[in-house]
Symmetry: C2
């Protein structure tokens, strides 16, 4: 039985495909610190489960394909804090930010058409585009430039007549970059000049450090008809398992057409919408506190990693990831080895090999993505394991 080429050619998630080694390590009684996946250890705010527990209707019914009004209203209000003026009709609730991005890509690209991404980029962008037959065209950014955008000519030379949009996460996953207002204006200019959509994945917008200010693409008036904003409760409210996100756009035709995709999967679960609405309605101070916590974790992570000999990293200014370049050839082998053959006091650590975050073959092979999603004590232990592990591994592979 032959499967489709499109599915055979898809990659396994670099974040998840090595999970089997972590499962084996745990079966052997090892504790594994998961710095491979953006699953924070921050407690999901109580209002989520409180709202869910209060649900007392007799039937768990289908919801509206576009999402429930109470959740959409809560999101409209949330966006006001960021000066993004959205109306109820501009928003569609999705199964996480993932579905929001997938539907957006399908809405703007036919198979074999292209979106530009800045590499290293969130590896699941590959999953979404491969699944929909779209090409992710990478524009490389570099650690020594803080992963900021290259010059305009470097970007536009990747644009072809098949390019339909720019897909960008700001703050950046996995780089932790926060783009400046000038960089955003440059992308807006390019989008206008080349008639492109911008899909702006801003799910980490709350996590910005060093006094930097966050500007949403949603505030750039001249691109409002070509902007698709992505949001999600996963990261900011530590509710990854709720799978609630949204697509927001002032382009009515786009929203009306994405609704057809939504209708074909009927709807998003009811309870998770009830819980998520309670999150979006929370006082913004929760997010401020969370940011302080991640700021500490970032500082600690950067301090620990930059102490390790011959490891190169940049202090990230946003999100909760950091790319680290290791003095080895193949980071995936090293990650597997840490899980299978190494431990400190019967504990080990897992990272995501960064190669899968690049579109250009060969790049990122010696890099890992570190998600600083655990508390400071755990981070210290985990990064010490990295340090000791690397020391030993270098002797082995010599």
């Amino acid at each position: 039985m032959k499967l489709s080429k499109r599915i055979l050619s898809m990659q396994s998630s670099p974040i998840r495909k090595l999970m089997i080694y972590a499962v084996e390590a745990k079966a052997q009684g090892k504790k594994v610190y998961h710095l491979n996946i953006g699953q924070p250890d921050i407690v999901t705010p109580k209002p989520f489960m409180e709202a869910v527990r209060k649900f007392d209707e007799d039937i768990i019914k289908y919801t509206a394909s576009k999402g429930e009004d109470f959740l959409i209203e809560a999101i409209v209000n949330y966006f006001k804090v960021y000066n993004v003026d959205l109306k109820e009709k501009d928003i569609i609730i999705t199964n996480g930010g993932s579905e929001a991005i997938m539907f957006s890509i399908m809405a703007i690209c036919n198979p074999a058409e292209e979106v530009l991404v800045f590499e290293p980029f969130y590896t699941n962008y590959n999953g979404f585009t491969q699944a929909t037959g779209v090409e992710c065209i990478p524009v490389t950014t570099y650690a020594n430039q803080g992963f900021h955008l290259p010059k305009k000519e470097e970007i536009v030379k990747k644009i072809t007549k098949k390019t339909r949009g720019i897909l960008i996460s700001n703050p950046g996953n996995p780089t932790g970059v926060v783009y400046s207002k000038e960089e955003m204006d440059l992308l807006a200019e390019i989008a206008l000049e080349y008639d492109l959509f911008i899909i702006a994945d801003e799910v980490y917008r709350e996590f910005i450090y060093d006094g930097l200010e966050f500007t949403s693409f949603g505030t750039i008036k001249k691109i409002e008809n070509r902007l698709i904003l992505i949001d999600s409760v996963s990261k900011k409210y530590s509710a990854c398992g709720a799978r609630i996100g949204c697509v927001a756009s002032k382009n009515n035709e786009l929203i009306a057409n994405i609704l057809k995709l939504c209708q074909s999967r009927l709807c998003v679960p009811l309870l998770e919408q009830i819980g998520s609405a309670a999150l979006y309605r929370m006082d913004i101070s929760f997010l401020a506190d969370t940011k302080i916590e991640y700021n500490r974790r970032r500082d600690l992570t950067f301090a620990c990693v930059s102490e390790i000999p011959n490891v190169i990293c940049r202090k990230p200014t946003g999100a909760f990831y950091m790319i680290a370049k290791l003095p080895i050839k193949n980071a995936e082998d090293f990650v597997k080895w840490l899980l299978s053959d190494f431990s400190v006091n019967n504990e080990t650590v897992m990272f995501a090999p960064a190669e899968g975050f690049y579109g250009t073959p060969g790049l990122g092979k010696d890099e890992i993505r570190i998600a600083y999603v655990l508390n400071e004590d755990d981070l210290k232990k985990a990064l010490n394991i990295l340090k000791l592990g690397l020391e030993q591994y270098l002797k082995l592979v010599k």
Copy 2:
């Protein structure tokens, strides 16, 4: 800003696109009986919310991309009742049966490849295939043959070198047909002869009337490597808003590849899996009672509709839908008119125009799908509104 051809060419759900007229009717104070959508008024069994309320972990975390083990185990046990021998590794949890079908189609078909469907068919099969660039090739079945399969030659003449599978719902939505063992064997024979997959959507397997016995495609040993079984909690447990379904197959390569699609959307919500596991663990007697209830509703619906002059329908033997042919030209206009311009004691009724359930242009224009998902009192009132409405409409359009 130009959207993609693939999204522009998608149809709106015939089940949902007229909802705006229902919303308007309600805004005018009318009560609307929804026989347009398979949303039962049966109470979702208490174990669902009881299990959800008991969840007391601190964090709503990502779950496994393949679904949580406790739910998969519950499903393995559930299938034993139907003599379908599945192992844990054969099952992947999905966002409802919808995602299960969508992923299955993507796994077996490249864009422009084809699946056979028996029309009238569940209209969202169009949504799934349009979204994935696949062609739904209809093989027509007829009311006067009880919507049973045509002869082998009628089926195989629709097979081309682009055909990759047969997508079939058994019991049938919207026809209510239950295929005989001989018909299933015929499809198995065709699948073997032409090297096709069978995607068997059996989400209504509990709803079989008149003493008919249900046989799952999962019991036909010789096709086990080319069979993809679809299940869902939506209908049997009246939990449509939970959006939990699954893909099951003995074809390990298929499951491993579908897992890549699952990884790209990360996971299915946690709470809904907890609640759904409690449903699958329930004593099978709940399903037997539900079937008795739907049997009564079916009898009532058929009795009421067949009394209406010049309306043609067949008594369905499964699921909870019935196709009715009306003595009018355009059923969609009639459905809109019922919502906008007609009421009895300030109440009206909504159906799904059946045209969207056909792939062959022109078929089904004068038909509606009736979902007998409400209690007998409501059904009586709703079908009386149909009768009186049709009477008046026929005078108007004369």
